[in-house]
Amino acid sequence: MRTVDIFSMAFVAIARNKVRSFLTALGIIIGVGSVIAMVHLGQAATQSVADNISQMGSNLLVVSTGRGGRGPGGVRIVSKPFTHEDVEAIRNDVRGVLVAPTVTTNQNLVHGNVNHNGSVLGTTNEYFPTRNWDLAGGRLFTDEEMYTAARVCVLGSTVTRTLFGGSEPIGQTIRVGRSSCEVVGILAPKGASFGQDLDDVVAMPITSVQSRIVGHRDIRTIFISAIEDGTTSRVHDEIDELLRHRRGSSMEDDFFVRDMQEVADTLEGTTRTLTMLLGAIAAISLLVGGIGIMNIMLVSVTERTREIGVRIAIGARVRDVLWQFLVEAVAISCLGGILGVGLGIVGTYVATDKMELPFLLSTEVMLIGFAFSVAIGVIFGYVPARKAANLNPIEALRHE
């Protein structure tokens, strides 16, 4: 028997029973579709976490004062802030880093008759490369401005839009809290990270914010970027040691250093596990689909018992009958697999759209989903096919 004929027999049988073939494949369609949608969704979530973290800046370490523990008698202790000298020490003693001390405060921002409550960030010029943040126009702060606590500021794009609408902001003066301030630069849009609008910010020299707005010299957060890739853990260790020494903390550290790479790895690990879990649950439905195929094929073999008897009587070999039914089962599940991939793509599109995740398709995932459907067809098609092939022709011909 020629191979083409095996295939054409299978397709003729499928075409002859279109509705039934479709219903048989339905389990596979849904199974493959949900595996593909689930895994794609998981990957999109992982991607979105990674994007959010790289938004914050690459090789970023964030050093903050501890939230403070409880002292004797349960009194809340606020751990002491970092000083300008701490910052200088990090700059001088730790190799290959950009160091940006920050002070943040919320202030009323006014320009003309527009009022906006926004976040004011006091920092140094290093802050911007540390966070991969570019200027869209104007300039950053000069050394003199830093030194003299000048009343200058650089605006985030949200603040620019809110306060100035379409008009040119550079050279204009806005009011920040009670002091007025000249706009010298505007920042490129940075987008949102974990739902927070990063562009809703006014950056000023740290000295200006300390002396003119908040009125103290406390530094609570220092952003540090390792210039060379792969050095964050060394930098992390060195900062730990330096600050421990400088702050003379007794047993417990009263500060902590968050390594964004670590955070990213942990989060990605979590979403990856979740993806696998979702994929596994969806794979169970694929298994159920396979059982559906086996079921219908067994019924079909019983229904076609006489036909099988005739085929054997006119000279079909065991393997001819086996192949005929196996190919039929595999063809049904392949068709199911193809439709399932389509369903999976549509499902991924709809879900990522709803969840505001990136819509990314992975050829690998789709191929694996399809390969699964083929494997299911072979595994669950084998039992009915073997049953058909091993029928006793005499009993089969007598079958009602």
């Binding site: 020629r2 006489r306 005739v310 085929r311 000279g315 005499i394």
Partner: protein
Amino acid sequence: MTAIVDVRGIKKIYGHGNTEVRALDGVDFQVQPGEFVAVMGPSGSGKSTCMNIVGCLDPPSAGRYHFCGLDIARFNRDELAMLRRHYLAFVFQSFNLIPRTTALENVALPLVYQGVKPAERNARALRALASVGIAERADHTPSELSGGQQQRVAIARALVTEPTLLLADEPTGNLDTATTEEVLHLLKQLNHERDLTILLVTHEPEVALHTQRVLWFVDGKLVNDGTPDEVLS
């Protein structure tokens, strides 16, 4: 000349102990090339069992069967399938055409298993249909054909491989008298013109009268073997 069928001491026993059924209980006979033989006997006498063994669908429990000089006991399943595919053909009482499949495709099916290419397959199937006088129904499915027409298609399917031996188990059992005559006429013609060897099971003496020889079975034994006139009188 080698006999087409040569059975010696053939037995077929179903079950064992109290429930043992001796469907065939020691049968010997030969069929020579070109013979047209009727197999007769009361119901349950083992006619169909005998046909199945001769048709290589069922192995005997005991005894020897040589088909065209070949000892069937030496053949495995695939080799027996090869014999059926090339040298044997069946016609059944209930036609056994494949449903929802055209007459042409039904007739071409044995050639599919022989690995013949579609163009040649269809040409030969059409010729076989023409030789049983039903070529104009080639595109009809079995449900669109009368019983007599279906049996003609079944005969065409049996002929298409140009077999050595045709086995027909009550081929006229489901047909009325007029159609029975037609089908018998066709079989006789094939026997004459092509020298086709035919074994035909029947209950009807009128049918057996068309043949050259009758084998009469009773209780799994061959009790009479002669011309229709001798046996039926």
